[in-house]
Amino acid sequence: MPATDYAFYPGCIIPLRYPDIENSIRETMPLLGANVYDMVGAGCCPPGGAFWSVEEISGLTQSARNITIAESMNKDIMAVCNGCFCYLKNSNHILMSDQEKRERVNTILNKVGRKYQGTVSVYHIVEILHDYIGVEKIQNSTKIKLDGVKAAVHYGCHLLRPSDHLMAENPEKPHKLDALVEALGMESVYYPKKLSCCGAGGGMRGNNPDVTLKILEKKLLNIKYSDPDCIVTACPFCFLQFDLGQKGLRDKGEDFCIPVFYYNQLLGLSMGLPKKRVASISETPRDGFIKRFYGVD
């Protein structure tokens, strides 16, 4: 069972594209009793699109390197991105169960003075918030309630699937992020094909800008079904897809204009943290939402 201290694995997108999300995590988690410590020198997880797609060992070894950083801190990893969570946890699983691969990985890691031992676990921030901190504690820690606000929750693929390794949620009927959203007073609304992909992963955003927007458009049309006030996710890559993707669609003349938040950003705002630090970077406007429901400019 994870304790109150976590090795904070920020990944790539949060620290380098949405550092306001990073701030929201750094500042909300300790208020709920979960202290986060930097994994100094942590590299890319790496994701499925590049290294995993060409060779298993290179992906596995880079993941192992990241895990060894947490091992040296003697703390379980808190992943804040679905991709990071999926690939780190999957690697951890392979390395723990497959001795032959572990030895091959350690042979390479030895060259950089590291050794994978298999002493830490990987958690997604949603699991930590829901399972270990709990909905009640979150409810009690917020100052501003978003009663009557409708949120479309997007889980993202790699928090749920493949479920037999990740085991973070019921893959066909997840509820944790919905419960967390409702802890802020919001209503998590139904929309069709809620578990389907945002269209960003697997190299799709980079390789096929047109296709990625088509998939996103379908996703947004489904979300539009229940006319929510905002989209909430706990994956920075899905966040990026919704944020930049909506801009892409807007440039093509289709403006959905649905504000997007990473969960901890809303949590921070509800706790009264300053908007500038926790929710100030986005291409899809959300100041209106923040002003309307939080009364902050």
């Binding site: 920020p10 020198g41 890319c44 590049a50 797609s53 960003a200 096929n208 296709v211």
Partner: protein, 182 residues
């Protein structure tokens, strides 16, 4: 075009299994994979057909075309496959085999080079300026110090990935960004 099944690659199934698509033979073509696929309607990536092509040994039809690189790896097919045939695993295996033939899309090469040179999948310099804007603490991840990037480079250099992903020693990331730790 009529396909003569005798002339197909009889080793394809074994190669796919070797590369991680371990349960490909379990497929009985029910179509569950394709019916939930987010890209099927907009692209040539037809996962049910791909599974069948593997079983029949039709490697040219898969590896020489880029459809397998259109998978978003959402794992919906793998999650729901009633035979646990692992369609996503099969796609990944095929990508590995495709990369061996030198077929790999540009975006993959760019991300891999970013990781190799910057420690991250995205460029770093832009990130650092954004961090300053929102009063984030100084970056401590791999992109913050050349010694961490050296580690990653040593790791990648020890694997085939360096060749497969066309890692270039002279790399200039896209945009106006520069390598952070030069």
């Amino acid at each position: 075009m009529k396909i003569i099944l005798n002339n197909t690659n009889k080793d394809l199934v074994d190669k796919v299994i070797e590369n991680g698509g371990k349960r490909v033979t379990e497929c009985f073509q029910c179509g569950m994979c394709a019916s939930g696929c987010p890209v099927a309607s907009d692209t040539d990536h037809k996962i049910k057909r791909t599974m069948h092509q593997v079983l029949l040994g039709l490697d040219e039809q898969i590896l020489d075309k880029k459809a397998i690189w259109l998978c978003t790896t959402c794992f919906m097919c793998l999650e729901r496959c009633p035979q646990n045939a692992g369609p996503t695993d099969v796609v990944i295996a095929l990508r590995r085999m495709s990369a061996e033939k030198g077929i790999i899309p540009e975006a993959q090469i760019e991300v891999a080079n970013n990781i190799y040179h910057l420690g991250h999948a995205v460029t770093v310099k832009k990130g650092i300026s954004l961090r300053e804007k929102v009063d984030a603490p100084p970056l401590t991840t791999a992109g913050s110090d050349k010694k961490y990037i050296d580690e990653i480079q040593k790791i990648v250099d020890s694997t085939h990935a360096v060749k497969l992903l066309k890692i270039r020693k002279e790399w200039k990331p896209k945009g106006d960004d520069v390598i952070a730790c030069d």
